[in-house]
Symmetry: C2
Subunit: 110 residues, 2 copies
């Protein structure tokens, strides 16, 4: 796991992007997908994940659908049109941030 400080401010972008790329997903599934993509380096905690998802839903960036799988509840999230346009901005913003930081730290990225 990375220094968790660096992750701050990236959670929303991660959630939106993963949902944009993978369509309908539920919370736990997202944590597993992020774990896989990050090669085990980003482990989303529930205390961060669920409040973040709820917030994104409240802002109209995500839509939900609750499904009963046997006796277990699953809450599926889908990205909205507004969410899709926001995630583009966020990713651009992140790339610009990287460029700026690499200039300040005088390091070669990639």
């Amino acid at each position: 796991m990375h220094s968790p400080e660096l992750l701050k401010g990236t959670l929303q972008t991660i959630l939106l992007k993963v949902l944009k790329d993978n369509g309908k997903m539920y919370g736990y599934e997202i944590t597993q997908k992020v774990k896989e993509l990050s090669l085990g380096r980003i482990l989303l905690t529930e205390g961060a994940l669920y409040p973040a998802l709820h917030k994104l839903e409240a802002e109209g960036l995500l839509q939900t659908e609750t499904v009963l799988m046997g006796k277990r509840v699953r809450k599926y999230y889908t990205i909205t049109v507004t969410g899709k346009s926001l995630v583009k901005e966020r990713v651009v913003e992140f790339r610009e941030f990287i460029k700026t930081m690499s200039a300040v730290l005088q390091v070669q990225i990639a």
Copy 2:
């Protein structure tokens, strides 16, 4: 200015790296240097800067020297040996963070 959320967790690394690269510097000078290197995109606020410098000093990563310039006080900061070894780690950590994030966000960096 970037979305300030992304900057969280990067301040210490920025301060240590700039001081490692530029030798003895005082607070205000650091803000100007960072502004220059970031093309005006990172504007360090005093409320973040000074407490961060004090903390790094308390941790033995920076050393200080107070100089009277005419009637104006300047507090010069120099990075210590411990600080130098830490900044290397921090920069490596940051690069790894970028790699991980680019994998999760599926974006090409640089």
